[in-house]
Amino acid sequence: MRRTRAIILLIVLSALASAVVGAGNWQSLKDDGLHDPSNPAIGVLQEPGAALSVLAPDGAGNKVDWVQSLQQGLIAPRPSLDGDKEPEIRETRVVMKNTYPMLYVTFPHKPHTQWMSCEACHDRIFVPQVDANPINMGKILEGEYCGLCHGAVSFPLTECNRCHNTNPASLGGESVVTGEGAQ
């Protein structure tokens, strides 16, 4: 019951958020409610707008599409401190089907492994095996599983359709997909 209410509320929120949060208006540090405007660091620290306005735009979170910014080469975050580690990129996508009444969720390994190594998730957040993780939306909203990052640092949970992105009819029953095709 609580979970259903939470989900209804989130849908409303997400509609409102996308209506109000346009792309590209970043708060200046002195007005962000966190920085002390009298701290000498104000004026030395970079303003978010100065760095983020030149990256691939988006409507939510940092208002930056971080995946596109990386894939277009606008940024090149280092995979290790000395930059000598070759990141391991995994191409599989895992389809998650306990999503009624929403579309299926397709978890894409590629963009995640462009941002982090396997150990960031396996096994501390997910067992690397299809359907081995008892994920549901309630737990995600509580900040577990996908919700550890999404809603905190990665794009927010109000963006339902970025995860719930797969029409069951587009699949032939498989759970692990590779290559192009069903997004």
Binding site: Q27, D32, N62, W115, A152, P156, L157
Partner: protein, 127 residues
């Protein structure tokens, strides 16, 4: 009827909140104030957006053992000077050194530890 008016009320409250939310901190800023103010310095503000332009998540969260939970890593100045956590980079080599107190300790008095612009606004924790 009663249930619906309750829901409508919630919707109005949220509609009122959203513009306020937009005026808040940059998404994913982490504030750390487990000991700072008690020890007489301003709370720490860690900007994810700034660092993720330069480093992948696992540099900090796997290689440097920084936990994905605001305030849970147990950072102290002693460890930073010893080259752990922020001190692995803020050592005058990869990034400016640890003597630049104000650049990290830049928060308003009374800030609570947490991730801002995320959980606190449109994500989990507030629904």
């Amino acid at each position: 009827m009663k249930r619906w008016s309750g829901r409508l009320l919630t919707m109005f409250v949220i509609a009122g909140l959203v513009p306020a939310v937009v005026a808040w901190a940059e998404y994913a800023d982490v504030t750390i104030n487990t000991q700072s103010e008690a020890e007489g310095v301003a709370p720490v503000i860690f900007p994810h957006w700034f660092h993720r332009i330069r480093f992948q998540c696992s540099v900090c969260h796997v290689d440097l053992d920084i936990r994905m939970g605001a305030g849970t890593t147990g950072i102290t100045m002693e460890k930073l000077i010893d080259g752990q956590y922020c001190g692995a980079c803020h050592n005058g080599n990869i990034a400016w050194s640890i003597d630049n107190c104000d650049l990290c300790h830049s928060g308003r008095p009374g800030l609570e530890t947490g991730v801002k612009g995320g959980h606190e606004t449109m994500g989990p924790g507030l629904y």
